[in-house]
C-alpha cells in the first residue's frame, strides 16, 4: 500500500476545525481546517508568515484560538494547557531547538517521561527506593534512544554544546522518551548537515513505522518533504490552500501563486479588520 492510499484510508487522529487567531489587527490564522490521518507523516508547508508555527502553537495549547476547535483522538481539546495535551499523547518540538542548555544530553531525555513519582518533592526526598526503581526504567529507555540516534559520544555533554543538527536530533530523542501518539515537528531539518539529515529522516520514518507515531511536520526543505511526507498540506496567509500528495500540490496554481508572493504582506494587513 503506498502512502497516498494509506493517508486517505486512515481515520484522522487530529482535526483542526475552523481555527481563527488574531494578533491585534492581524488575522494570523483565518479559519484553518485540516485533518491528520492516524499513522501518517503529514507535511505542513507554506511561505514564511503563513501561520504554520502559530497553528502548532494553537494545536499544542500554547496559544488560545479566538474561534474553532482542535480535536485529538476524537476528543475536543481546544484551549487545554500544554501539559494536559502532553498527557493525552501530543508533543511538539520548536523551530529554534529548545534544549535544556545547561543539562546533559542524558538529563535532557530523562526529564521527559511523566508524571514521575520522583517529581513529587516529598517522595523525592523521603522515598528514594520507589524513585530509583522508576528511574531505572527511564534510564534504560534513554540509553536506547541515545543509541538509536547515535548520540552516545555526546551523552554526558551539556546540550548547549551540541551542533544545531544534534540539537534537532535531541529534540526528536525527547519525543522518543514519551508514548506520544501525535508529534508536531517544527522544521526538523533546519540547520542539519546532509549526514545528520539522513539520520533524521530515517529516524522519523522508523518511529512512524515501528513505534506508531503520527507526525505533522513543518518543513521548508522540499526534498525532505517529498521523501518523507504524504500528504502535504499547504498554508498561506492563515489559511489552508491545498492538500494532497506532493505532486498534485506542486501543480496547484494557488500554491504557486502563494510561493511567488503575488499578494504582499502589506495588502493582507490592510485587508484585516
Amino acid at each position: 500500500m503506498n502512502g497516498a492510499e494509506r493517508s486517505q484510508s486512515a481515520t484522522p487522529i487530529l482535526v483542526v476545525d475552523g481555527i481563527e487567531l488574531r494578533f491585534g489587527g492581524i488575522r494570523a490564522l483565518d479559519g484553518v481546517n485540516l485533518e491528520v490521518g492516524r499513522g501518517s507523516i503529514t507535511a505542513l508547508i507554506g511561505p514564511n508568515g503563513a501561520g504554520k508555527t502559530t497553528l502548532f502553537g494553537v494545536i499544542a495549547g500554547f496559544l488560545r484560538p479566538s474561534r474553532g476547535r482542535v480535536v485529538l483522538g476524537g476528543e475536543d481539546v481546544t484551549g487545554l494547557a500544554p501539559p494536559r495535551l502532553f498527557a493525552r499523547g501530543l508533543m511538539r518540538t520548536f523551530q529554534i531547538p529548545a534544549v535544556y542548555e545547561r543539562m546533559t544530553v542524558l538529563d535532557n531525555l530523562l526529564m521527559v517521561p511523566g508524571p514521575q513519582a520522583g517529581e513529587n518533592l516529598l517522595t523525592a526526598v523521603f522515598a528514594s527506593r520507589a524513585v530509583n526503581r522508576e528511574e531505572k526504567a527511564f534510564r534504560e529507555r534513554a540509553e536506547r534512544v541515545i543509541a538509536f540516534l547515535d548520540l552516545a559520544p555526546v551523552r554526558d555533554n551539556y546540550a548547549g554544546q551540541l551542533s544545531g543538527g544534534q540539537k534537532k536530533l535531541l529534540e526528536l530523542g525527547r519525543v522518543m522518551m514519551t508514548d506520544s501518539k501525535v508529534v508536531l515537528l517544527d522544521e526538523p531539518g533546519a540547520g542539519v548537515n546532509p549526514t545528520l539529515m539522513k539520520k533524521l529522516t530515517d529516524s522519523i520514518r522508523r518511529l512512524n513505522a515501528e513505534w506508531g507515531y503520527t507526525f505533522l511536520i513543518i518543513e521548508h526543505d522540499m526534498d525532505l518533504v517529498a521523501a518523507l511526507c504524504d500528504p502535504v498540506i499547504v498554508m498561506a496567509e492563515g489559511k489552508v490552500l491545498a492538500q494532497g500528495p506532493m505532486a498534485s500540490v506542486r501543480a496547484n496554481d494557488a500554491v504557486r501563486e502563494a510561493y511567488l508572493g503575488s499578494r504582499s504582506v502589506a495588502e493582507r494587513v490592510v485587508a484585516g479588520p
Partner: protein
C-alpha cells in the same frame, strides 16, 4: 585561646544562619532560576514569628506565648512558606521579572510593618527577651540545622524533582511541551526555599535574643546572601555553604580591622566593609562567573 574559641563558635553560628539562607536561595535561584530579591522578607517573618511565639507574655507586642524553641522553628517555617505561597501564586504565573519586583516590594512592606505596627512587633524598639541558649548549645543547634538543611536540599537536587526544576529554569517552553506543570514546580521551589529562610530567621532571633526592623534591611537581609551564593557557586549546595562562610569571614575580618582605625573614621570604615563585599562580587563575576564550586553537570538520581 578561650576567647578565640568563643569567637570561633560565635562566627560559625552566625555564618551557619547565613548558610541556611544561601541554601534556601540556591533552591530558588540556583535550581529553578527564581529571582527572589526579597529574601529579607522571609528571614524577618521567620525571626519575628519565633520571637513572638517563644518570648514570655509582654504588653509591648503580640503575645508572647512562651512556647518552646522548637515550636518557634516549625511555625516560623510555616509562616514563611504561607507568605511565599501567597506571593508565588500571584507572580509565578507571570513573566519572571514580576517575581523580582514583587519580592523586593514584599521585603519593604514587611520591614515597614515591623517598624510601624507596634501592637504586633513593638515597632522600632523591637522584641527583646527572646530565649537565648548558651553559645555552645546554640552552636550545636545551628550545626544540626545546617546539616539537616543541606541533606534536604541535596536530596531534592539529586532527584527527578531537581532535574525537572532545572529544566524549568533552562527552557520553560520545552518543559511545558514535555508535560511539566511549570507553575507548580516554581511554586514548590519558591515555598521550599522561603521556608528555609524562615528557619534561618528563627535561628537568628534566638542567636541575638533581640529582633528589630533594622536587621532586615536589604543589605544584610538580601544582598549579602546573593553575594554568598554567587561567590560560592550558584546551583551547588556546597558552594552555597562555602560562599556563606567565605563572605561572612571576610566581613568579620574587616570588622576586626575596622576596630583598629581611629574613631573619627568609623563611619567610613564600616562603609568600606560593604564596598569590599561589592568588590568581591565584581571580582568573582569577572574571573569566575560560575562561582568557586560550579554547578555539577549531572542532576537527578544516579552517579555523576
Amino acid at each position: 585561646m578561650e576567647s578565640l574559641l568563643g569567637f570561633g563558635i560565635f562566627f560559625v553560628s552566625f555564618a551557619g544562619i547565613y548558610a541556611i539562607l544561601a541554601l534556601g536561595l540556591n533552591v530558588q535561584w540556583g535550581y529553578t532560576g527564581l529571582f527572589n530579591i526579597g529574601i529579607a522578607a522571609f528571614f524577618a517573618v521567620g525571626a519575628y514569628t519565633a520571637a513572638i511565639l517563644t518570648t514570655p507574655e509582654s504588653p509591648n507586642h503580640l503575645g508572647g506565648f512562651g512556647l518552646p524553641m522548637i515550636a518557634g522553628f516549625v511555625v516560623a517555617m510555616l509562616v514563611a512558606a504561607v507568605l511565599a505561597l501567597a506571593i508565588g501564586l500571584i507572580t509565578l504565573r507571570l513573566r519572571e521579572d514580576y517575581l523580582a519586583i514583587a519580592s523586593i516590594g514584599l521585603a519593604e512592606i514587611v520591614r515597614l510593618v515591623l517598624k510601624n505596627e507596634e501592637w504586633l512587633t513593638n515597632g522600632t524598639r523591637g522584641i527583646t527577651a527572646i530565649p537565648r541558649p548558651t553559645s555552645v548549645t546554640f552552636f550545636v543547634i545551628v550545626a544540626v540545622a545546617v546539616l539537616v538543611t543541606y541533606w534536604l536540599v541535596e536530596r531534592a537536587r539529586r532527584s527527578p524533582w531537581g532535574r525537572t526544576v532545572r529544566a524549568v529554569r533552562e527552557q520553560e517552553q520545552a518543559a511545558l511541551a514535555a508535560g511539566k506543570n511549570v507553575v507548580r514546580f516554581r511554586l514548590e521551589a519558591f515555598v521550599f526555599g522561603s521556608a528555609l529562610m524562615g528557619l534561618a530567621g528563627a535561628l537568628y532571633a534566638h542567636f541575638q535574643g533581640f529582633v528589630g526592623p533594622e536587621a532586615f534591611e536589604p543589605m544584610f537581609g538580601t544582598f549579602i546572601v546573593w553575594v554568598m551564593l554567587i561567590a560560592g557557586g550558584s546551583g551547588n549546595n556546597r558552594g552555597a555553604l562555602v560562599g556563606a562562610f567565605l563572605v561572612w569571614g571576610l566581613y568579620a575580618v574587616t570588622g576586626f580591622v575596622a576596630t583598629l582605625v581611629p574613631p573619627e573614621f568609623a563611619t567610613q570604615a564600616s562603609a568600606a566593609r560593604v564596598v569590599l563585599v561589592g568588590v568581591l562580587l565584581i571580582v568573582v563575576l569577572l574571573y569566575r562567573p560560575e562561582g568557586l564550586l560550579p554547578e555539577s553537570r549531572r542532576v537527578g538520581p544516579g552517579p555523576d
